[in-house]
Structures are given as C-alpha cells and as structure tokens.
C-alpha cells in the first residue's frame, strides 16, 4: 500500500533579475522585452514512492530542498511540474505554532490552530483536555500566548498538531525546541504513531535522530535526490568525506 507517490516533482522559483513587483514595472519592461528571470530549482525531478507504515528520514545540507520536499507533500507549494499523490490523512508539523495569534490565550489558540488545520470546533473540544495535558500548560492556558516562552509555544504547537490519528506525519526539524523531558515525550509519541502504522517523513539535521526513528533515508542535494536506501547505508555515505560532491559526477 502506497502512502505517498512523487513523480518527477520539480519546484522552480523564478527570481526576476530586476525586481518586478508592480504592474507598471511589468508593463514597461514587457514592452521593452526585458523581463528576465533567474530560475532556481528547489527540487529537480524528484521521484519516490513511500509505503504505508514506513519511516523515512530526509537529510542533506542547508538549501538542499528538504523543506521544499515537505511543503510539496503538505500542499503548501504546488509543484511546478510533476505530480504528488497523497493517500490518507496528513498531519504537517512544518513549524510549530505557525498559526498562533500572540494576543489570544492558549485556549483560544488551540481552537484557532485546530481550525487552521481544518478541524471542527466539536472535534477540538473533544481533544482539548488531552492537548493541554500533553503540553503541560494547565496553569497557563488562559494567559495570552505572547507571555509564553518559546518552549511553551512549541509544546502547545506540537500537542495540537499531533493530537490526531494521521495516516502520514510530516515533521520538519521541530524537536530542536523544548527541554529534554519534552523531547523524550515527543519521541515517545512518534514511536506510538509508528506502532499504529503511521507513515513518518522526518526532515532533520540530527543524524542520530534520523537513525533512531527511520528505516529508510532520502538524501537530497541541490534539489536532486542523490540517494534513497536503508538508513544506515545512506547516512554513512552522507558522512564519508569521499562522497562530498556525489551529484556532480552524475550530472
């Protein structure tokens, strides 16, 4: 059973060489035949199939396209060319507390965040107590979120986003926040998801974490999928200095 299918996915950003932001400038430059773009391929012809229940790590240097990879799956970005097929429900953890309104209380933000994720109010009411308990914010839930520490915000964001039974969980480097105890409980929750057959796609710079959670690893470099295989194998290739410039040879 497939959970995710990406075929020939390319995400191309067009960066106007002269910054054209207005209709007036566009019209003037267009008349002069002077609209030029630099193109940046954040992802280039990436194809892969991820099966239900797999835990897949995505590694690579900064700017390799890891976050874009997740954004394309999460439908934040539509690929310029190629297709993405998602089979099942998706819980994106791209940035914790992205939709939080600092002026509103933690309680109100739980409902707001739930709404942003497309969940109904009744659904959130049912989950409310569990979310607050997991985030350990019982004492502060009616205080405005702007008074929270960044760790508290992250805990709340994580608790809201993961209090679902998703088929596919997308995680982008979100465990770097929070104290050790909380990180451990996050990991516990991930292991729980895995046991239930949830597909996990994890982007991280922490190779230890990837090794610990994932059986398969995708290595992205310059927007291209350089390697796709068993976690230990790909990680050791990624680490070995001889593999410093692996794509250039191929392309």
């Amino acid at each position: 059973m497939l959970a995710l299918e990406l075929s020939d996915v390319t995400v191309r950003f067009r960066l106007p060489r002269d910054r054209v932001r207005t209709l007036k400038e566009f019209a003037i430059n267009w008349l002069r035949g002077r609209i030029r773009f630099d193109e940046l391929e954040a992802l280039a012809q990436v194809s892969c199939a991820i099966h239900r229940g797999e835990s897949v790590g995505v590694i690579g240097r900064n700017g390799a396209g890891k976050s874009t990879f997740l954004k394309v799956i999460a439908r934040v970005l539509r690929p310029t060319t190629g297709t993405v097929r998602v089979h099942g429900t998706l819980a994106p953890l791209l940035e914790l507390g992205a939709g939080f309104d600092p002026e509103l209380s933690g309680r109100e933000n739980i409902f707001l965040n739930g709404a942003i994720l497309g969940r109904s109010r009744r659904d959130m009411e049912r989950r409310f107590a569990r979310i607050v308990e997991f985030a350990e914010l019982e004492a502060f839930i009616d205080a405005p979120v702007r008074t929270y520490s960044s760790g508290m915000v992250a805990r709340l964001g994580f608790a809201v986003a993961t209090d679902v039974e998703p088929d596919i969980l997308l995680v982008d480097e979100v465990l770097a926040v929070g104290d050790l105890a909380f990180q451990e409980r996050c990991l516990e929750r991930f292991h729980g998801f895995r046991a239930c057959g949830t597909t996990l796609v994890l982007v991280s710079h922490s190779l230890d974490l990837v090794r610990q959670l994932c059986t398969r690893v995708l290595w992205l470099d310059g927007g291209r999928l350089v390697a796709d295989g068993p976690a230990a194998e790909v990680i050791s290739r990624y680490r070995s200095p001889s593999a410093e410039e692996p794509v250039q040879a191929a392309s």
């Binding site: 067009r14 439908r75 939709g99 942003i116 497309g118 969940r119």
Partner: protein
Amino acid sequence: MGTAIREIIQYRSLLRNLVARDVKIRYRRSALGVAWTMLNPLLMMMVFTLVFAHFLRFSIAHFPIYFLCGFLLWNFFAQATSWSTACFVGYAPLLRKIYLPKAVLVLATVLSGLINLALSLVPLALLMLVEGHSFSIHLMFLPVALLLAAAFALGVSLLLAPLCVLFADIAQIYQVVLVAWMYLTPIFYPLEIVPPEYRVLVTANPMTHFVETFRAPIYSGTLPDTGTLLAAATAAATALVVGWVTFQHYSDRVAYHI
C-alpha cells in the same frame, strides 16, 4: 469545483474564526466600538444631504433615505473588495507554512463585510422611523438583494486577491478605480438626472443594478423591476464564474510570491 466546496465546508471552523477576528480587530481599538459602524453612515448621510439636497438642490424626496440605501450597499462592496486585495499578503506567514483552502480567506472578507452591512442597517431603520417612512412588505426581498450583491463582491474579490499578490500596485490602482466607480453609480443622484447620451455609462455599470435592487424595497416600497433584477443576477453570476476561474488558475502560484 465540488472538492473545492467540500473543502471550504471542512474548514468552516476556520472561516468562523477569521470572520470573528476581522470583526473583533475592527472594533477593539475604538471606544465607541460597534457604534462606529452605525454612526459613520449617518455622518456621511448628513454631509451628503447638506451638499446635494440643500447646496445643489437635488429634488429627491426623502434624500437621506435615498442616499443611505445606495451608500450602505456601495460601502459594503467597496470595503469587502478592498480587504480582499490585502488578504493574502496579510496572511502570508501562515500561507508559507500551512496548507489551507485560500478561498476561505476571501470568503471571510466578504462575510465580515456582510456583518458590517447588517449592523449598519440599524441606523437606516432608525432614520426611516424618524422620517416616518413606511416599512413595506417587500422588505422581505432584501435578503435576495443582499445575496446578489454578496455574490458579485465575492466574484470581484476572488479575481483581485491573487492578482494583488502577483502585482503589488493593483491594490492602489483599484482604490482609484473605486472612486470613479462610485461616481458612476447612482448613490446620491437619481438615474434620471444623467443626460441620455451618458446614461449608458451608468446602466452598463453592474453596481447600478445592485444598488437599485437593494433600494427598491426600502425606498420605494416596491419590488425591483425585472430588468434590473435580471441585470443584477447576470452580473453576479458572471463575476462569480470569472472570479472563480481566475482564482483557481492563480491561487496556487500565490505561495511562490509571498
């Protein structure tokens, strides 16, 4: 289109949140709060009555009511569509990180405009009481008139919202267009005053028909005539289709530009 609508229904909780937030933010920073929505049209009405009924001596019976009907509907349209020009930019931090059906953001601006309009119907009703204007049974038709105007505003907003992300100055250009557009809509003058050779400018303007549709039951106590109603319905349907098609075409590109 079916999936898009189903998705909007799934995100109804978000829609409710956005509308509530729009309304709350608008009134939070003012001492008079909601009262401003009611006072503002009344003040405008006083100024326009002074200028047009007394300085320029337009002979329109019950000028304040005539003006206020047109002005409230125009104000709804102008506000809702202006907000839509800013809505994607305003929610850019969110749109960069989380998927949501973007039509919900546009729908929210039109709905909060409608709430604003509903609130400002209160001073209109008060004015009618004070002036001894009769409340016709045809007021029952008002929801239809509002629905048509809202559909038109939604269509225009769906068209504007993504284009304003691609070209930042469309929002400014639109503000100029709105001023010209307002003067070509019979808000503070009757259609009959327009010389025949220019009348096509006003009758070809869809807002004329929405204003007339809205004004008939309140001001004249009649149903709008069939021609006006048909013109309004056609304009609303056309705007919705054009807006929706444009929106579907461009809204995916929005994330690349904000």
